[in-house]
Amino acid sequence: MGDLLFWHRLQFGFTATFHYLFPQLTMGLALIIVVFKGLALATGEERFATAARFWIRIFGLSFAVGVVTGIPMEFQFGTNWARFSARAGGVIGQTLAMEGMFAFFLESTFLGLLVWGERRLGPRRHFMAAVALFLGSWLSGYFIIATNAFMQHPVGYQIAADGTLQLADFWAFLLNPWAVVQYLHNMMGAVVTGSFVVAAVGAFWTLRAVHLEQAALFLRTGVVAGLLASLLVAFPTGDQQGKRVARYQQPALAAMEGRWNSGPYAELNLIGQPNVEGRKLDNPVRLPGLLSFIAYGSFSSNVKGLNEFPRDQWPPNLEFLYYGFHVMVGLGTLFIALMGLAAAFLVFGRLERIRALLWALMLAFPFPFIANSAGWVVAEFGRQPWLVYGLMRTAEGTSQLVHPGQTVFTSLGFAGLYFVLGLLFLFLVGREVNHGPVA
């Protein structure tokens, strides 16, 4: 139990990963709910209002778990990362405080109105409540990404005489170019999750031949949104994100691709196992030149390998980073293929009759959750060994006086509590899906 840093990282990583399973669903669904409410308002057709009502119920459950699992994240800045908070709080305190003031109040106010106020508000104001909730949840995402972007690529700060990081330029910090790119990439990932879940429920009901009108609507919406989001998450947002990593986090790029030797015409590794001790990638399947092209826009660009950097600047857990990246990219590619195929059948009006494809759509919904988690593994493990890139190492940020045993105790507490929370969530969502649309 000696390694305090390990337990602090495990606790934060576990609670953050579990937490983010829920906001990615709510942020994705928030957009789809706005679309349904908008269509209901524009066409006056009851089926759109019914669809919105069903997804608002799922949204409410997911939002509730997202809120309660988000509270520990805010607390852990102080409890587990005291030295980081003391040193960087003068900068990142801004966005974390703004999230509460500008996003959480908006969300919490309009959630109640959206979930319970349809009759009291009337269609127009109920639509506005959906828009407000969408804005609140997407704004909340921006403040968190801006906080993370400062850790990935610090800008707008200065170092005070006592060594703390202080705000120098508020707008440069808030509109960090890294934040804008990462935000768009992340939000498209959330829409992928939301649309896969919507399509999965549509496929499930179609296969069971129940609630067919709603099922068709869910399938069509899920597949169209899913295809668009799967494309956008890769290009341009994922591509731009990759180019920023290539420019500012060169050891991370090399580790993501298992690349030790520098050189032009760098190949893209489709598969292979990183061999850290041997400093090479075992059994690779590679496409020559493509990594240079993706990273810098030309096949002849030099892509640095890990051998160019001192060992203490390599991300530790290099294998995890490598596999996380390949899982994310691999799944992202499969998402485009699956949704592209489904969209093709949809165009010809045959999707509802291709049972194998419906099965695939139904069973595909967990994978966007995995891909989003893997994406965050790439972002956060790629940032290592830095807590604030280039300025502060992760080992310098922990709460020193917290005994590892305390962190083990609370981590086990979270593991148990979250296991039960996850079961309850699946049970309640399962009931809603089984029950069907709400008239």
């Binding site: 459950l61 003391a86 709080g89 509460g100 109640g112 319970w116 005994h403 507490g413």
Partner: protein
């Protein structure tokens, strides 16, 4: 600038105490005053649309504290490590109890979540009260600016101190009694019929207990931190707090016996704000005193972020705060009047 932020954070903490306070009080009481399913749903209809927003005041106050006084957050949160996670877990259980309860129409399911809701709602005021007690009594901060404190030691207020001692437990009980009363008055204001009647009857002895505990705590604070009262002579704002606190007491009595429940509820809100304001004015500029060496105490001056952070935060704070108040005004207006248990399948 440090002083302004000290008061902005204090204002947000006070709003949190008043707003989530009535949720806690309602949670503690609902097992006793709401006996039928319809009455339980009436309680949830009263706090249901509000509790989530109320809880945001805690996060907003914490965020403002992080922005303005990062060293206070770093030292306090890591020092109270285990207690912080008890607060977090109680908040998690309270939240899901309210949200999950209505989804299954089953008496045992609902009884279970009602119990979880009540227990979590009772634990939170005790923990927050003990936190207030720790802030008044002090913690073993040394020159590094950090500390680590056990849950309890010998239950005395001398070193080595623990989170729980006779004084902080007394503060926990005081806050529990205050917020339970506060919840009873809120429910008396927002409900009708037998439920309203029971809340009204519960509020009277609860209020007497709160007043008695407040007297006891005032004496105990003088024993634990005598310096606090010496500051009264030159802290003008403390007298405003004392006036609010006494005026609130009187307003509750008058409201309770004159059947004006909104007045009684506002009275107990003033009581809570008054206690916190008087405390804040007396401790200024110390935010976390050290029991080892007064020079190691964390103050608004030695814990604050740089001037640029404080200035930038100030600009958006004065945009965001009125916005938040406007959302709440809208929410209270939409849900004005007596709460009614909604039909099954809508509302809580």
């Amino acid at each position: 600038m440090e002083m302004l932020w000290f008061w902005l954070v204090s204002v947000m903490v006070a709003i949190y105490a008043v707003m989530d306070g009535f949720d806690f009080g309602s949670g503690v009481l609902h097992l006793f005053v709401a006996r039928t399913e319809a009455e339980r749903r009436e309680v949830l209809a009263a706090i249901g649309p509000l509790w989530d927003g109320n809880e945001v005041w805690l996060l907003a106050a914490g965020g403002a504290m992080f922005l303005a006084f990062p060293r206070l957050l770093a030292s306090g949160f890591s020092g109270f490590y285990l207690a912080m996670f008890m607060v977090v877990w109680s908040l998690i259980l309270r939240g899901i109890a309210i949200e999950f309860r209505s989804h299954v129409h089953d008496a045992m399911w609902r009884s279970f979540w009602d119990l979880v809701f009540a227990v979590a709602s009772a634990l939170l005021p005790v923990l927050l009260g003990a936190a207030l007690g720790n802030v008044v009594r002090g913690v073993p901060l040394d020159a590094t600016g950090y500390f680590q404190i056990p849950l309890f030691t010998h239950f005395g207020v001398a070193n080595p101190v623990g989170i729980l001692d006779w004084y902080t437990v007394l503060m926990g009980v005081l806050v529990l009694a205050t917020l339970t009363t506060h919840g009873a008055l809120f429910l008396a204001w927002k409900t009708s019929g037998a439920l309203h009647e029971r809340c009204r009857r519960a509020a009277q002895p609860l209020w007497l207990a709160t007043a008695a505990l407040a007297v006891l705590a005032t004496w105990a604070t003088a024993e634990v931190n005598p310096a606090l009262y010496r500051n009264l002579s030159h802290a003008g704002l403390a007298w405003v707090g004392v006036a609010l606190f006494l005026g609130g007491l009187a307003a509750v009595f008058a409201g309770l016996y004159g059947n004006r429940f909104l007045q009684a509820f506002l009275g107990s809100s003033a009581f809570i704000v008054g206690i916190l304001a008087a405390t804040a004015a007396c401790v200024w500029p110390v935010m976390l005193p050290s029991t080892l060496d007064p020079a190691a105490s964390i103050t608004a001056y030695n814990a604050s972020a740089g001037a640029a952070s404080l200035r930038a935060g100030m600009v958006w704070w004065f945009i965001g705060f009125p916005l938040a108040l406007a959302y709440f005004a809208y929410l209270f207006w939409i849900h004005r009047g007596k709460a009614q248990a909604p039909g099954e399948g809508e509302g809580y």
